[in-house]
């Protein structure tokens, strides 16, 4: 098998609580726990999950913006977990990012030419001047913006235009991997589809892999070859996106799918019934995780063992993995889909 472009192994990120100078620290927030996945070159891996599930923290750990508690990150087989080592390997040139908020991810005091030109100067050693300006103009072509944008400031652009500038900046140094964290979430529906298509077109034309992060499973599975579903810092399911969508192997994934509002009243009424089998409850705090499955208090099919033991990662039929006791205890799905099981359970419970 060939080497994956990016490989994340048993990644854990904990944020220390903020105590006073001379007092003991409160327990750490366990934002990411034991997360593993790989991304092959020119492929897209999608990461989905609700707010606070740790998606951004995974991205920030890969980008070396936060300290890693445990685990390792390899780029093309080279260990880039530590900043010092990664500097030699040109990590900063090879991994770029497009961030969520098009209004705050661009510095308001610089023009487009500087925003996109800065990384070009740094990584490709092209000083400010005609050559660099030309390169920036080419990048604007690539993201579908006119050259009049060269001298504009971010506050003179719409959200969609700013996001295109962010994409051009990420691509400026010809990276191998672009991490897009909620890159389309803040955009209007009609603009969101434009940006998604743009990203896909860029992947076809340029040799680049994506880590695509969003809270919308529909968007993520459309963008990605493989997806990972996160809940409270754990990767609860991972697999090929079409299969995960059609045959989820974790109850939380099923809940996510059932919750996506569908723009068709009849279909939506069906989903509504399914959605209502899940319990209304507050998820536990990441600073105080229960000993068992973190989804236990919302799961319609939780068993006794779920309260006591953290489920281990099991092989799933779709070739990926799931982290749920159902596959090894109780009804023993053995990696199969939870869909039929949950629906039949739900019928039993609700008496439908």
């Amino acid at each position: 098998m060939t080497q994956p472009l990016l490989s994340v192994e048993h990644l854990a990120v904990h944020f220390a609580g903020r105590g006073r100078l001379f007092s003991p620290d409160p327990p750490p927030v366990k934002a990411v726990n034991d997360v593993s996945f790989t991304i092959d070159s020119q492929r897209t891996f999608g990461l989905v999950g609700e707010s606070g599930s740790g998606k951004s923290t995974v991205a920030r750990a890969i980008l070396q913006l936060v300290d890693i508690h445990d685990g390792s990150i390899h780029l093309d087989g080279d260990d880039v977990t530590r900043v010092a080592r990664s500097a030699e390997l040109g990590f900063r040139k090879r991994v770029q990012a497009v961030l969520q908020d098009p209004f705050s991810s661009l510095n308001q005091v610089h023009t487009t030419e500087t925003i996109i030109g800065d990384p070009i100067t740094r990584h490709l050693a092209i000083k400010a001047g005609d050559e660099r300006r030309e390169r920036v103009a080419d990048l604007l072509d690539l993201v579908g913006l006119g050259h009049e944008f060269l001298d504009r400031y971010p506050y003179e652009m719409s959200g969609g235009q700013r996001q295109r500038i962010s994409i051009a900046r990420a691509l400026a140094v010809e990276p191998d991997l672009v991490i897009a964290d909620e890159a389309t979430s803040a955009l209007d529906v009609s603009i969101q589809s434009q940006v998604i298509n743009l990203l896909r077109e860029i992947q076809r034309e340029r040799d680049v892999a994506f880590l695509f992060i969003a809270h919308d499973l529909e968007v993520v599975s459309h963008m990605s070859h493989d997806v990972g579903v996160m809940y409270l810092g754990y990767l609860v399911e991972r697999g090929p996106s079409d299969d995960v969508y059609a045959q989820p192997t974790h109850p939380y994934t099923e809940m996510l799918i059932a919750s996506i509002p569908f723009p068709e009243p009849g279909e939506q009424a069906k989903r509504r019934g399914l959605r209502q089998t899940f319990k209304v409850a507050e998820p536990p705090s990441p600073a105080n995780l229960p000993p068992g499955c973190p989804f236990e208090n919302r799961c319609p099919v939780a068993m006794d063992i779920c309260r006591e033991e953290m489920p281990a990662v099991t092989q799933a039929h779709h070739g990926g993995e799931a982290r749920c006791h159902l596959h090894t205890s109780g009804p023993e799905l053995g990696g199969g889909s939870v869909v039929e099981f949950i629906r039949s359970e739900a019928r039993g419970n609700v008496g439908v």
Binding site: S51, D118, P119, R169, D188, Q194, E282
Partner: protein, 678 residues
């Protein structure tokens, strides 16, 4: 739709002409977006504001004079400030044509000495400020950027120095080195650096969380470069303001030290020294010797503070743009359309305009009508800037200033409410209309227990006693399915997750049993799994209480879930409306159709296929086309579309649509997109 499929279609039998029953509501186009003068750079705006502020102009003028006095005192001074004339009659002379402010005890020209005093003042500022900024800013940046225990340790030491009296530090330095104003200023600089450390650290802590700083780090810039190029420019404005105010303080401290005799030497033309001498002799020679240096000192300190304020105001964003102030009512041309019979809320052809300086007012709503039946849900959908929220706000007498409702009629509960006064509106809104907002947490006061906030509207709008109100609040929490409501009453908002806070928001909106509930993007800020539960709750409550709901959202999926009727808005107009099943099953307007097609849920292609897109962007209100507003983005647009604005037509099945070509486009034609040739 869901839940009422077996009821008769309540609109089908309405006479045509009540067409737009449904009409529209849209997003608030941000007032700043309307008024923003895009060619005005921040720098030009800064100077424009500085020169518009009289106090700013005064302080700038005063500094211009001082600057000349400092750099080139001979230009202003009439005499050598040190030249003595010990002729007895020339001492303590009053003002004359030769000595404009008279002379001092050695016959030196007083005016020239005051002028030269500016140099001493500025020299003090220069020394103290160099140290204060040179130490404080890097230390604050380092501390804030680094974080952790080292940061806490640095700030602890900083706070200790911060709390020491400034004069004490100045004296300590004088004792270690030697008494002179310059040495004293070194001590003042150290003391003042603690102010800059605090400020810089606070800004750095905040900026470091900004996405563009992440972006800069990702692009590989080294930490010092990020600090210098990204954090520093954003720090600059607060630093300048702080520096101006601290400069004033430094002059005052310098004068105090000189006054106490431990600053400038006794011969120097320093304002503090002059004051000190004036004080010594004012019993014998009168008060005059104190006036000129005192006035110079006070004016300068004042000017520094005014300058700081002026800069702060000139940098600040227009806070007024964000505040929701309700505009005054003006003459409103009535609508020529009859109200919808039986509707709880009926809005007829309303226009809303915003003034634009020096130009024609900009119309942001154009002939919007809608109707909500009792116990039913109207969904209003559109992209940002389409006018969804503005429609609802204007209908309820809340047109945000400086916008104005210029045409249309509104009927609520059988009563014409178009031109009610604000106090009359308040009564209706508080009792009969409940509002649910997008950010539930933002609506709750973080410092007050949730239960207390829930009891407030009950105490205000009903006759309930305190105990009864509490009982009612607990019931409300239970009704919106907040687990363990008794305990939750005594918790603060931060102890609620987003979904639970939104349940509280709904409980508050329901507190006085309103007839109409307005939900403006109620689930947009929530997770998708929680969104479904909140929508379920809204529908259950509606079934139990018979409340009417207006749901504003950009998400067609949410509309499909809960709305009986739907209005689609684009660029300040209703473009299509009808029963949800009709709109989703057979959209007639190209925009509705295109919106549905762009959703990944409706993407039926394979792996490699792109999503359908709507090219271009929603135009700003100032750029709305004369013909069909959707024409520049519509794949079916013809010349007629570009020239003539289509009107809202009522179709036989009760659907309303604003498109010249809906007939040719409806039915089969849509099935194969692109096959239609017009």
């Amino acid at each position: 739709m869901t839940g009422n499929s077996n009821e008769p279609l309540e609109d089908a039998d309405l006479p045509a002409g009540t067409d737009e029953l449904l009409e529209d509501v849209g997003h608030i186009p941000t007032p700043s977006g309307l008024s923003a003068n895009k060619t005005d750079s921040p720098r030009r705006r800064f100077w424009r504001r500085m020169f518009k502020n009289p106090l700013g102009v005064f302080s700038m003028l005063w500094f211009l004079i001082l600057l000349v006095a400092w750099v080139w005192p001979e230009l202003l001074a009439t005499h050598d400030p040190f030249k003595q004339d010990l002729t007895f009659t020339r001492l303590y002379e009053g003002p004359s044509s030769d000595h404009w402010l008279g002379t001092d005890e050695r016959g030196r020209d007083f005016y020239s000495r005051v002028i030269h005093g500016a140099g001493f003042a500025f020299r003090s500022i220069l020394i103290a400020m160099t140290i204060a900024v040179g130490v404080g800013v890097p230390l604050g940046m380092f501390s804030g950027w680094r974080g952790g225990r080292l940061d806490r340790a640095i700030m602890w030491v900083n706070d200790v120095f911060f709390s020491l009296p400034i004069i004490l530090l100045a004296m300590a330095v004088i004792i270690i080195l030697s008494p002179s104003l310059d040495n004293a200023m070194i001590g003042v600089g150290i003391a003042m650096s603690t102010r800059f450390t605090r400020l810089t650290r606070a800004v750095t802590l905040q900026e470091k969380e900004e996405l563009y700083v992440d972006a800069a780090r990702i692009s590989g810039l080294s930490t010092p470069t990020v600090l210098a190029r990204y954090i520093a420019p954003n720090l600059l404005s607060s630093l300048i303001v702080q520096a101006a105010i601290i400069s004033g303080a430094i002059i005052l401290i310098g004068a105090t030290l000189s006054f106490l005799g431990i600053g400038a030497s006794l011969d120097d033309p320093d304002w503090g020294v002059m004051l000190n001498r004036g004080r010594n002799i004012f019993r014998t020679e009168g008060i005059w010797q104190i006036v000129p240096p005192g006035a110079a000192l006070i004016l300068t300190v004042l000017a520094f503070n005014l300058l700081g304020d002026a800069i702060r105001d000139a940098i600040g964003r227009d806070a007024s743009n964000n505040a929701l102030t309700i505009s005054k009512r003006v003459d409103i041309a009535p609508s020529d359309r009859p109200h919808r019979p039986g509707a709880l809320l009926s809005v007829r052809t309303i226009d809303v305009e915003f003034p634009s300086p020096g130009k024609e007012p900009v119309q942001i709503l154009n002939g919007v009508s809608l109707g909500v039946l009792p116990g039913k849900t109207l969904g209003i959908v559109g992209e940002s800037g389409s006018g969804k929220s503005m429609t609802v706000l204007s209908a309820l007498g809340l047109t945000p200033a400086p916008g104005r409702l210029t045409r249309g009629s509104v009927q609520f509960d059988e009563r014409d409410v178009t031109s009610l006064s604000e106090s009359e509106w308040q009564e209706i809104r508080g009792k009969d209309i409940g509002v649910i907002f997008q950010e539930p947490i933002a609506v709750l006061n973080p410092a007050i227990k949730v239960g207390k906030q829930l009891m407030e509207p009950l105490l205000l709008h009903t006759e309930l006693s305190k105990a009864e109100a509490r009982q009612r609040a607990v019931e409300l929490l239970a009704e919106v399915k907040v687990p363990d409501p008794e305990r939750r009453m005594d918790q603060y908002p931060h102890e609620f997750s987003g979904g639970m806070a939104q349940r509280v928001g709904i409980a508050m909106a329901l507190a006085c049993s309103p007839k109409l509930l307005i939900a403006d993007e109620p689930t947009t800020a929530l997770d998708v799994t929680v969104q479904g539960q909140i929508l379920d709750l809204l529908m259950d409550l509606q079934k139990e209480r018979g409340t009417s709901i207006i749901l504003i959202t950009h998400d067609l999926g949410v509309i499909a879930e809960v709305a009986d009727r739907v209005i689609v808005m684009y660029a300040g107009q209703v473009v299509e409306g009808g029963l949800a099943d009709d709109i989703f099953g057979r959209p007639r307007h190209p925009y509705t159709k295109a919106l549905l097609d762009t959703m990944p849920q409706n993407h039926h292609g394979g792996e490699g296929d792109d999503l359908a897109v709507i090219p271009g962007v929603v135009p700003a209100p100032t750029d709305w086309p004369v013909g069909c507003r959707f024409a520049p983005r519509c794949q079916y647009a013809t010349d007629r579309c570009r020239e003539e604005m289509p009107v809202l037509e009522v179709l036989s099945d009760g659907v309303i649509v604003r498109c010249h070509h809906h007939e040719e486009l409806s039915g089969e034609a849509y099935a194969g997109r692109g096959e239609v040739s017009l």
